[in-house]
């Protein structure tokens, strides 16, 4: 397939006695959507946290375009082109919608951003385009905390759009969306994919997975049980059994 941009090998992490992630190897490709599916507690979010540097891995490696990223701080990983969303969104609650998105375009930690007013106008344009694309333009001046559920989810996406990253790690961005919103969300992903963004999507709804993803990695108890073509994986009765919660032989 196309260029490989992110690769993890044997990522592992345990909490006390719980082996949350047990040797996960994943690759993400430019312009492809990889869906990360698996039952609750499978280790999906933890895998993201290990990649982004929010958690330290017990063992294993990860690299972006060949550059090792283990041990980097979250903001350093972000500056290599990784944008992520959070399962619990983590919006900047007391800022306006537009400020939330503008903040995503401003990464310098100094008193001011480089590039003067030209660069500032470019950032504002990027932020406004992200608002437009997510349908939030009319709400630009509302505070994030006052938004409705679906609007919050789109604001979280708008931040990612504005960040101009080429690797997206999305943690259940479509959960709880109605059909119309889901379609709009799908369009966002397809546009990004067309621009060559590598996307990893955590999603429980298999219809969404089938519609949007090129590949599936099936995670259970911290291990990738199967990886490959969506149709093939979703037809596998053993995986379906695990996914839908009746685990016939626990020991297996």
């Amino acid at each position: 397939m196309t260029t490989e941009v992110l690769r993890t090998e044997n990522l592992s992490r345990s909490f006390g006695g719980v082996q949350a992630v047990a040797g996960v190897s994943l690759t993400l490709h430019a312009g492809a959507v990889t869906a990360l599916v698996g039952p609750n507690g499978a280790g999906k979010t933890t895998t993201f946290n290990l990649i982004t540097g929010n958690l330290r891995a017990d063992s294993g490696t990860a690299a972006i375009r060949g550059k090792p990223i283990m041990g980097l701080k979250p903001w350093q990983v972000a500056r290599l082109g990784v944008a992520r969303s959070f399962q619990d969104l983590r919006l900047f609650t007391h800022m306006t919608v537009r400020e939330n998105v503008l903040a995503a375009t401003e990464t310098a930690s100094w008193f001011w951003q480089p590039g003067g007013s030209t660069a500032r106008r470019a950032r504002e344009a990027r932020a406004d385009a992200a608002l437009e694309a997510t349908g939030l333009s009319a709400l630009a001046r509302a505070r994030a905390i006052d938004l409705a559920y679906a609007e919050r989810k789109f604001l979280s996406m708008a931040r990612i759009l504005a960040a101009e990253a080429d690797i997206w790690l999305l943690d259940e961005p479509a959960s709880g969306l109605d059909l119309a919103s889901r379609t709009r969300f799908g369009q966002l992903l397809k546009d990004a994919q067309a621009r060559g963004v590598a996307i990893c999507l955590i999603e429980h709804n298999l219809d969404v997975v089938v519609e949007l993803s090129n590949r599936i990695a099936f995670l259970d108890q911290g291990k990738v049980l199967a990886e490959g073509d969506p149709d093939a994986i979703l037809k596998d009765p053993a995986l379906a059994a695990i996914y839908f919660g009746d685990r016939p032989q626990e020991a297996a």
Binding site: W75, A78, F92, H94, A103, E106, T107, S109, F111
Partner: protein, 291 residues
């Protein structure tokens, strides 16, 4: 009477500097320091020493105050990088209490309990100047700087890390650097206020840099309204006119005016939090802007 008004105006300007800089970290970055008087004190001692040992140049004194206070702000930035909320309040309160002991004991630097006396009048280019215009200019510059920072990208970064630190980091923001920088800026501002204070009174001692003083500055910020531009100024004016107002009330014995004043603003803080948490200047509909 004029001298009285000029003195009050100078003190108001100096405390407005303190309140505006404290507001910068409390209202925008959500870093709740009860140690602002420490940096006020560091600036005062540094400014006083410059005037005593070198020349009573107010600009040099302010520079020294800013550098010393801004540099030592790392003592407070360190815990701010590790913890937030309650934990940080505890750390800053401890720092405040420790600093008072240090100020009282480090006699060569601070003059101990007796303080530094006979600080020469400030002179600029050989002419003796009053501190009032200097303080007003400093206040105007600091208000301008905070306004620009607060409304620009840096202010957004601080608010972002206040509301959701991990999300700010995930967007590539170096949270540690931003916090340290905000802290250095606010503390350097307090240091400038301190240097001006020392030159104005020509005498400083540890009494002015205690927990009570930190509480007073905090009250100014809160009563004015955190996260607003004019709130700290309004708070400083109200709280500093309070003692003169109370002095006119006949049944308060003069020795108790200080205590009555503290009771009034203590009550004001509590009642505001119960009934109007955004402060006097703050927009009620926006609610409290601090996590």
């Amino acid at each position: 009477m004029i001298a009285y008004a000029a003195n009050l105006a100078t003190i108001v300007a100096i405390f407005a500097i303190l309140a505006a800089t404290l507001n910068f970290i409390v209202g925008y970055a959500g870093i709740f320091s009860v140690a602002h008087a420490v940096f006020f004190g560091l600036g005062a001692y540094a400014g006083a020493q410059v005037a005593l040992l070198l020349i009573p140049d107010p600009l040099l004194a302010c520079l020294a105050g800013a550098v010393v206070a801004g540099g030592l702000s790392l003592c407070l930035a360190l815990p701010a990088l590790r913890v937030r909320g309650e934990y940080f309040v505890a750390a800053s309160m401890g720092l405040q209490m420790m600093a008072v002991t240090l100020f009282s004991e480090a006699k060569p630097l601070t003059g101990g309990i007796g303080g530094l006396v006979n600080i020469p009048r400030p002179t600029l280019f050989g002419v003796e100047v009053s501190v009032l215009p200097l303080a007003l200019v400093a206040l105007a510059l600091i208000l301008l700087a905070t306004a620009l920072l607060q409304r620009g990208a840096f202010g957004r970064t601080l608010q972002a890390l206040r509301d959701a630190e991990s999300a700010a980091e995930a967007l590539g923001k170096n949270v540690a650097a931003a916090k340290t920088l905000a802290m250095a800026f606010a503390c350097a501002g307090a240091g400038i206020g301190g240097a001006l204070f020392a030159l104005h009174l020509s005498f400083v001692n540890v009494e002015s840099f205690t927990m009570d003083q930190s509480v007073l500055v905090m009250a100014m910020v809160i009563i004015g309204g955190t996260g607003t531009l004019w709130g700290p100024l309004v708070g400083a004016i109200i709280l500093l006119s309070l003692p003169s107002g109370l002095a006119f009330i006949p049944f308060i014995p003069p020795t108790e005016v200080g205590a009555v004043q503290q009771i009034v603003y203590g009550l004001a803080m509590t009642l505001l939090m119960i009934f109007r948490p955004a402060g006097l200047v703050g927009d009620l509909s926006k609610g409290r802007a601090t996590a």
